[in-house]
Symmetry: C2
Subunit: 158 residues, 2 copies
């Protein structure tokens, strides 16, 4: 494969630096995976990313996608979340403020939420127990507006 490694976005530079800093090398596979990752918005699974990558380079293997996704997480570009649907979903974390998620239990629609006072309280809770807080996971589950309407309609029919 004859590739020219030009990755211009800031995020891409971070990844390249991460590789260099850890004695890892850029490869055509990593390049296409990272580029595809950076172009993809929202929350997606490793399998979905693999499918997108294979649209460009069909011979990329799933193991490589899983491996590169791990590098993306370690380099700080990606974050992995378990929304309880059985697969890990990934999202961008570079250039995105920290946030938690509000998830519709019916259609899976996800809204990013932040609340400074919750974050402060979490810190206090940890300290009160002598823990040094390193990170947290908060997920709110409920019915989104659209699904509330659908549910109401269904109930009216029955």
């Amino acid at each position: 494969m004859d590739f020219i490694f030009v990755m211009t976005s800031e995020a891409a530079k971070i990844f390249v630096d991460y590789l260099a800093g850890n004695g890892l090398s850029m490869t055509p596979q990593r390049k296409v995976i990272v580029e595809t990752f950076l172009e993809t918005k929202g929350h997606f699974s490793a399998e979905e990313l693999l499918a997108l990558v294979q649209k460009t380079v069909p011979e990329v293997g799933q193991a490589t996608v899983y491996r590169t996704l791990k590098l993306l997480v370690d380099s700080g570009l990606a974050e992995s979340h378990d929304f309880g649907c059985g697969v890990a979903l990934y999202e961008h974390s570079y250039g995105h403020e920290h946030h938690d998620h509000l998830v519709c239990t019916r259609c899976q629609k996800k809204v990013e939420v932040v609340d400074e006072s919750i974050e402060k309280r979490q810190e206090i809770l940890a300290r009160k127990n002598g823990y040094v807080l390193t990170n947290h996971r908060m997920m709110l589950f409920g019915l989104c507006p659209a699904c509330q309407k659908l549910r109401d309609k269904e109930e009216a029919e029955s």
Copy 2:
């Protein structure tokens, strides 16, 4: 098997009622699983519960433990949590106030935490986005006091 089904605790009654209310029957296996569950404190996996159950009745199968654990969750006696360690951990939920967890990332020590103002804010966040909040998961990760000391000692040595 000749069993006399006497389960006297309130929790046990709830389970029996749940079975009756759903056309399910009490069986020796369910009885020993529920009794063992009720005697066990803290957080434990299905496999750990299976081992405890088999101390009393070795021929109980793991599928039955998984199935009964599901009934326990549905009946409101148990709660299942994913602490990110690869297995679901269960804990009692009857007679236990709602709480979230503060987990040591090193020794897995878990502390139950509650914060009314966080709960209120979660409700507000959901409402602000038009969602009807049904439940939430919050997990705080950090280093517990003991593990902080261990880490400091290790760092001093190196």
